[in-house]
Every structure is written in C-alpha cells, then in structure tokens.
Amino acid sequence: MNIKHQAGLTASVLALSASALISPSAAAFDASVSGFIRQEMAYKIGGDQNPNNPNGNPLNGKTVPNTVLDHPGGCALLDALTLLTVAQGGEAYGSCLLGTMPPNITKPFIDNENDWNVFATRAQIDIDMNISNNMTGRMQIRGYYQPDVFDDYGDPNLFTVNNHGDEATYLSISGSNYMVDMPMAYIDYAKGPLWIRFGNQQIAWGEALFFRVADVANGLDLRRHLFLDFGAEEYADERLSSPGVRASYTFGTDWELEVFAQMFQPTIIPNRGSPYSFLPYPFTVDFETGFDQVDDAINGGVRLQGQIGNLGVQFFAVSRHNPDPIFKLVPGNGTAEGLLNGPLPVLGGGSGELMGSQPFYLDESGEFGFDSWRHWFGSTSLAGIDGLGLLNTLIEEYGFLDDAFTLFSYFGLTDGFGDPNVSTIEQGRYIVDTLATAFGGPLRAGGQAVYTAENIYGLGFNYIFYAEPDTFMDQLVLRFEGSYTPDKKFTDPSLSSDFIVSDEWITSVTIEKYQRFTDAFPATFFIFEWMHKSESDMLGRHLSGLGGDRNHLPGGGEDGRGWDALVFALQQPFPDLKWRIDMSILYDLNGGFFMQPAVRYKPSNTWSVEAFANIIDASNSGSIFASTEFSDDFTVRINYQF
C-alpha cells in the first residue's frame, strides 16, 4: 500500500469520526499550542564499535587461517572445483593441494570510529483542541533531525523504512537524516461513562514498567536511541501509534471495560548499519514484503479492570499480528560463474536448482560478508542464531545448497558420504570456510520479516499494603501481571521458514515503595521488578538460540530455564524538585546488566536538562545486552519548552 493511500485512509477515519460526533450545539472552539525543542547528544564513552556493523566486527582488519586448507577432503574439493572452473574457461586462483592457495583470510580494515550514538535536534508541537462540551482533539507533530556526525560504514539511512511506501509509520515523512511524524492525531468523545478516542494514538496497558506484559497493543520505534533513553520515560518516545478506535465504558464506580481496534503497525528496528543496528550486517532484511501481507490487518483487544476492595484487578485479551518481526531466509538471487551457478553435479541427480534460488550471494565489496567460520559463528550467535542449525536449514530448504553439501559430503566434510547434514561445530567451520573460499569471496544473505497472528490472554492485580506508619510494609505496592500466548511463533534459531511454535507465559512481579528517610528530602521512590518469560528473552529471541559464541553452539540451558530479569530503580527528588537523581538497573540473569545513573535539572519553566550514562555489560552472548554492550554512552538532553 502506498503512502498516499494510507494517509488518505487515516484522514478518512478522522473525518468520519468528526462528522459523526460534532454536536450541533458545540461550545466555543478553543485551541492551545505548546511544545519543546531539545538537543539530544549521546557520546560514546567506550571505544567499542557496534559488532554488527563492519567497522565494529571483531574480525575487522584481522587475518585468520583458512581452515579448509587443513582438511584433506576440503582441499581436494576446492581443487576439484578449481579444475572444473578452469575447464569451463574460468580463472584458477590457486591449488590447495599444491599449496598455492592463500593460506589466510583477511578482512579489510575499516577504520570508521563512531563517537556518537545520538546527536539530534528534536522539536515537538502539541495542539490541543476543545471542540465541544463532549469532544476534544489533540495533534502532536514531532520532528527529529540527526545530522550525519557519525563516522559510520556505508552512510546508512537512519529513518527510511519501506513499510508504507518509504515510510515507517502511517503519518510520517522521513529521509536519511530526519523524520517528521504525528504520534498523536485523534479526537476524543466523552459522554457520561462512555469515552471513545478516534485517530492515530498510542495505547499502553498494564502497570509493569519496562517489562511489557500487558503492554502489548503497540510495537516500538527503535530508530532513535534504541530503548536506552531516559529511563524514567519508559517507552514514551518509542511506543508506536497507529490509527484506530479505542472505547471505554465505566460501570458503577469501580469497573471499566475497554476495547480497541487499531491498524497494524510493525515495530521498527534500527536500520542496517545504523549505530544501534542489531542484525548481522551481511544479513539484509526485506520488511516491505512481510508488511504488505498484513498491512490491512486490524489488531484488537478488550480489557476489564476494576477494584475489589483494596485489590485492583485487570483481565485482558488481545488478538493481534505481533508487531515484532520474526525472520526467515529468502532467495538471494545471486549468480556465480560456471559450475558454481548450478546445477551442481551430485550423484543420482540433484535438485537442479541454481545459486540464485538460495539466500546467499557474493558481497561484491569484499568488506563485510561472511568470509570465515569465525565471522559466521560469531555474528550468528550474537543475534541469537544457531550457526550450525542454520547450515542444516539451508540444506533442508534450498535444493542448491542441498546439492552443494551433498557434493561436500563426497569429500568428507559432512556427516557421511551422500549425507549433506552436519552435526558438529568443527564440521561447520570447514563448511563455512569451504563455501567462502569456493565462491571466491565473502557472502551475504537475504531475509524477510514476517508478522504473525496471535492471541494473548492476561490478568493482573495490584495491592497496597497498610501497616504501621514508617514501616517497610506501610503503603508498599505489589503488582502482578501475567500473560499467556498459545501457539506463539518465534524466529527459528536456524532461520527456518518453519517457525518455532510454542505457548509462552510471561509474568512480572513489581514491588514499589515511597520511603522518606529524612525530613529534609522528599520520599525516595524504589521499584523492584522481576520478569519471567518461558520461551523468549526480552528482545523476543527464542531461548533455544541463545548462549552460543564463535566456539560454542547455543544450548547452555537457557531454553530450559526460561528467561528472567530483575529491575531495580530509584528516584530521589530534591526538596523543590528542581533536581532529581535516578538510578535504574536491569539485570539479565543470563549474564548482563544495564545501569543508568541519571540527573534531571529543571531550573525554570522553560529550560530543563537531563544527563545520564548508559553502562552496559554482557558476560556472554546469551544476554540481551550482548549486542548493545558496545554502546556505553553519556547522554545530555537540553530542553527548551514553550
């Protein structure tokens, strides 16, 4: 669907909303405008670069031995392929058995050193309208300009995503370095216990912060500062709006029934090569095709919440297309010269497929593609992909590669003669180096985002304890949320198009407390949260793909344990609230933490400054922070509001 079509549809929804409900006895129209301008700067405080980008690849500029030269069978295979290539008029590049083939693989050194994670100017304008006694409206326009201060590889486009034409969201225009969108453009109609909101809107359910248990209506926009912005704002800037209708009806004084229906809007992950890109650079994802298959889908949900004495409860059910994409490989349409373009000669006849029918193709630049097993297993494990399983998926789903691996089997590179499958990481190393050597250069791959349908059922409660004043238990808040998603689909760690389907349970327990330690300062706010997910981590990666690294396959027990994380945060305002210090710590029990000390200073009505450090560490690739631990930064945001 092109952007004009989408914009027109949205405008129609708004117009319909307005025409149907404007009261003939409308009160005087009143509008007010406010907004702010903010400079946001996140300076990296470590020298590390994003390992998913070419300049941050641990192998950048490194030379490693080509292991296939140590494998007699592999060596013979390469020479055989060389002979066949020469016989077909191709050019020989050396003989393995004669020792004239280059013994090492060298990844070119890319000397880009990026000092910034964010350096942007943001402007936001809010227009509030009082249309009639029962109707109000709100429009928010957000502009974000990020000049190209990044010393990055490939001059990536930071904002353009081809969901809606070239736009990521329904109401936006963007370019490589800027985006302008409308996170809010809606009309409220409220009469008695009924409230209806029409238009482009965010919907946030639940009470757990950071952990999204009931907060399942909207995806996230991770293009700016990923999810590493000022912790006290949670996902306010990231949660994605989309056109829809939300209605709520209050029963008596304690119960509210709420429903929504909203046009599908996928989560937006950082673009390839951008500062926070978290997919391997050789992996190019097509988001448009997957979105086009569900772009007319409507996500909907219903929630009942209320109060039973001192117990607050909520029950919810959501039927949606998961805005968070899952991935599969798709044919790369690559070509090779001579024999390697296929069909490959295998005993008994092969599939007859050509090289272009499978996902991999040659990286013409020679700079960033998979060129060695170290790169292959290192990058895939960082992304929660099982590098060895991926090889077997390739065999299973792509005839050309089945043929190739069968051919390899004749030379002892696989499980057995005629058996294309591989079972050990050692086999995988030879296979990858053989592939890269045989194709004469590093490889890249094509993938596709898929948005799958699912139903989520959940409940939650909150309870405030009362005890003797000034004791720990007095006014302690306990919150619980849980959700159950039957037959949820996950990216298969081997990137099979046959996704993992599994029931997932998610729970969170939150304890909150305001405690005044001294009469000189306002109360300190503490929050402790525990989240458990049965099948995937906080990034949505299936646990069975976690825990691997360059030398190990995944499977360190993550799959059986489930995923757990703890949050501890505090806020300490100063007496006149001009200053506030915050501390947020997210600890991933798989081995990693994120810590954000922060200070907020608001010296006047118009100016405020927030400064915080993001300190991230991961002890292994099973951690959700493995792909972001490079990004420690010190962020300053200077706001002027009007």
């Binding site: 009469k191 912060l209 608001k602």
Partner: protein, 462 residues
C-alpha cells in the same frame, strides 16, 4: 466624639477568658449562631472594635486604607506571621475592606442553608468520624459544627466539604516565584472535587447513592507547560478519616494509569511549586491522620474574605494587582477585612512519622469556618510555610457569577503560599478558564465522568 460601649481591652479580655475557661461559643456580645439563622447579620454579636478597623486601631487604619510597611505595625497582632513578614519586608500591600456582617456573603447559599438547617445534628462516633447523630450515618451537609467547641470540630468543618459545593471545577493559574523575584515556573492546573456525602444541592438528598463509604472524589491535572501536560492524579477519599485516599495517577511518560501509595503528602507535585497536597484547603489530609488538635488562640484577625474576585477582568485575572517581591511579581493586592473572631487551631501530623512538618497553625473564621490563615512549622519548630487563601463572593458591582438559584457564587479567589526559609513563593489565581478549554464551574453534572474516574484521567492525560 465616638463613644464605644466596649473598649479594645474588653474584647481582648473576653477572648482570653473564653480561651482560659474553655468556653467556646462564637460571639462576644451574644452567640453568633442564632444571629446567623435569624437575621443573617452577625454585626450584633461583636462590639465595634471587632467589626471596624478604625475602632480596632484607634483610628490609625481606616477602611479603604492600604496597609504596607509604613503602617503594618498597627495591625501586626492580627496578621499571621508570614503575612506580616511579607508586608513589613517584601513590599506587600493589602487594602482594608469593610467587615462583612451579612452572613450570606460568606457562604454558597445552599451550604449556608444546610449549615443552619442541620445544626446540632453532628457528633463523633467511636472511630472519631463525624456522623449524623440521629442515625449514625455520614454527615448530611453544611458545617457539622458551626459553633465548634474543639479544634477537631473546627477541622471537621473544613475537611468534610472543602469548597462548600457538592461539585466544583477550578481553573487554576499558578505562578512560582524564586528568591530573586522572577517567575521561574508557571503551570495551568485543573482541579475538580466532588463530595459523595454531605451534599447540599442534590435534590435526591445528602448522599450519592452507592458512594456513602466515601467522602469525595478529587482530581488534579496539569494542562501546561508541555513537560507536565497530562500529568493527572485522582484521589478517592474514604469517609473514614483514619484512612488515606486511594490514589491513581497518569504520568504522560508511562501513557497509562497506575495506582500509587498516597502517604507522601508533604512534597511539591511539580518542580518549583510551593504547595503540598497536605496544604489544600488547610485540611488536605484525612482529618484523623493528624492529631493533637488544640485551640491555641481566639480573637480578631485580618483575612481576605471579600472583594478579590476580578470578574470584570479578562479571565478573572489579577495580574493588574501584582506588586511586591524583588521584581514586583509576587503578590496580588487584595482586600483584607477585620474578621471579628477567629479560632486558632494547631495540629500535629501524627500519622506521618517522617513528615517535615512538626505542626500547622490555622486561623479559622468563625463566621464561615474558612481557613483564612495557615502556616506550618518545620521539625525544629521554625516557621516554614504559609498557605493563605482568599475567599470572596463572585460579585463585583453589577457583575456576578450566579449559582443555579440566582445567588452569587462564593469560592476561593487566590492563594499565596510561601516558603519563608527559601523565600520561594507560589500564587494561584482562580481563573475563569485555562489552556485546554477547562472552565471553572460548580455542581457540573458531568464532572464525575469527565474528571473523576480512572478513565477520565487517562483521557485527560492524552
């Protein structure tokens, strides 16, 4: 020559004697309450030196005069300590208005009628809560103790109905001035309160059916500036004054309503403001979470009980009255009148062990039980903060904001709140409307669904 039947010392001796003996009925020459009910004119209850500033000051200050640093010493004894400090040291001016003797000018009409109608019917039950004596049910409207005999009775009058209307929506312009006299912060605040019991204008009686276990719903939300816009809180007060209200809050960053604990009531809601929830109406906390109520004084007092409504100005603005402070931006020049008799009550925050406040002292005008002076003391016993509220009929010349029965409305008009230790100052103006299209109103039938539910604060929060 003006001959006074009762001299200044007479009333002073009278009040001291009354305080010492613990006899508490309001009025000096005669009881106040019967006059309120019979004629509506309370002038006969007090000698002239308690109803005429000229008589009280022996001619040194007259009605219509401006009291400023040059003459404040003549009225020092009848000002609260913060007002005195402001006038004597910070350039504040007040204008002396005649003492209001027509009781109908000191109340919303329905509330006054309920007060008179229901007098003598209130008592405390064994939990300390006010009940309608004949049936033990919640209070039925008006001031339960119009002639209070104790500090807790006086506070019950202020607590059970804050704004003296069944429902009120206030549009509040807030400006917060720093020690250097600059307006450092400005907020536009919506405030809505709706009693569920003790109703005085409800045709169906004193109770909102199904809500008898509560006292009120109250919400506060911010429409300006941008960084706090949408921040909103809903308090649901239980009738049992030993319990804290339920608190729900919408923070724009979270985009959702969350339930909060509610015992932190001695902290500013937003940066720069010199106002705590505990300050509201001089009785911002459930009555029985405070204790040691005691009457510590009785006598005349200067307070703002009339004349401050600026209905002829755009949006009821008082900006033309600004003066004082280092930049001339602190104070509204408002009318003060000699209030013949106030009860001075002190109380301690027993239910808040780490409260920064050690006690509050409130000056309550016996004519209408309004808190016309309020100061708090820190834990060292040093004077800390004030929360001066000015009340007035919304009437100016021929211009008036009328209630449903055609009577001029009566409500608060402004607040001056000051932290004397940091010299930070907050002023509220009760405006006609604020950004976002919110207009002040009373007994608005839609108020509950528009402002006082979890759904409503989510909608207000955007």
């Amino acid at each position: 020559m003006h001959i006074r039947k009762y001299d200044y010392d007479y009333s002073r001796r009278f009040f001291m004697d009354k305080l010492a003996k613990g006899t508490m009925g309001a009025g000096v020459l005669t009881s106040l309450l019967p006059l309120m009910g019979n004629s509506g004119d309370i002038g006969q209850a007090y000698p002239e030196e308690l109803t005429n500033i000229e008589a009280y000051t022996k001619g040194k200050v007259q009605t219509g005069d401006i009291v400023d640093a040059s003459n404040v010493e003549f009225v020092k004894d009848i000002l609260d300590p913060v007002s005195y400090l402001q006038i004597s040291q910070q350039g504040r001016r007040i204008r002396i208005a005649p003492t209001t003797t027509d009781i109908t000018e000191l109340y919303p009409r329905d509330y006054l009628e309920a007060t008179l109608r229901n007098q003598g019917m209130a008592s405390f039950d064994n939990t300390g809560n006010v009940v309608h004596t004949p049936d033990g049910k919640p209070w039925i409207g008006g001031s339960p103790f119009p002639d209070p005999k104790s500090g807790i009775e006086a506070f019950a009058n202020m607590t059970l109905s804050w704004g003296r209307h069944d429902t009120a929506v206030y549009a509040v312009e807030d400006n917060d001035i720093g020690p250097e006299g600059d307006v450092e912060y400005s907020y536009q605040i919506g405030w809505c309160e709706k009693n569920t019991v003790a109703l005085v204008s409800n045709p169906d009686g004193p109770y909102w059916e199904g809500h008898e276990d509560k006292l009120r719903y109250q919400s506060v939300w911010f429409n300006y500036p941008n960084d706090v816009k949408g921040t909103s809180f809903l308090n649901i007060w239980k009738y049992d004054q030993r319990e804290f209200p339920d608190l729900f809050g919408y923070l724009p960053a979270f985009k959702r309503v969350r339930r909060f604990p509610t015992n932190q009531r001695f902290e500013p809601l937003v940066p720069g403001i010199t106002f705590f929830l505990s300050d509201a109406w001089g009785a911002g906390d459930p009555m029985l979470t405070w204790g040691n109520y005691k009457i510590v004084g009785r006598g005349p007092f200067l307070g703002s009980q009339s004349g401050s409504w600026q209905g002829d100005k755009e949006n009821w603005s008082k900006d033309h009255l600004l003066h004082g402070g280092k930049k001339g931006l602190n104070f509204f020049e408002v009318d003060f009148q000699l209030c013949p008799e106030v009860i001075v009550v002190e109380a301690e925050p027993l239910g808040f062990p780490r409260a920064p406040v050690s006690k509050k002292r409130v000056w309550i005008d016996v004519r209408n039980m309004a808190n016309i002076g309020y100061v708090t003391y820190d834990r060292r016993g040093e004077l800390w903060r004030s929360f001066e509220t000015g009340f007035a009929q919304q009437k100016k010349g021929d211009l008036a904001n009328l209630d449903a029965k055609g009577n001029p409305e009566w409500t608060w008009s402004y607040v001056h709140a000051m932290d004397v230790q940091t010299n930070r100052f907050t002023r509220f103006n009760h405006a006609k409307s604020i950004k976002g299209g919110l207009s002040a109103s009373f007994n608005n039938e839609d108020a509950y669904s528009k402002y006082l539910t979890v759904q409503a604060i989510r909608r207000l929060g955007a």
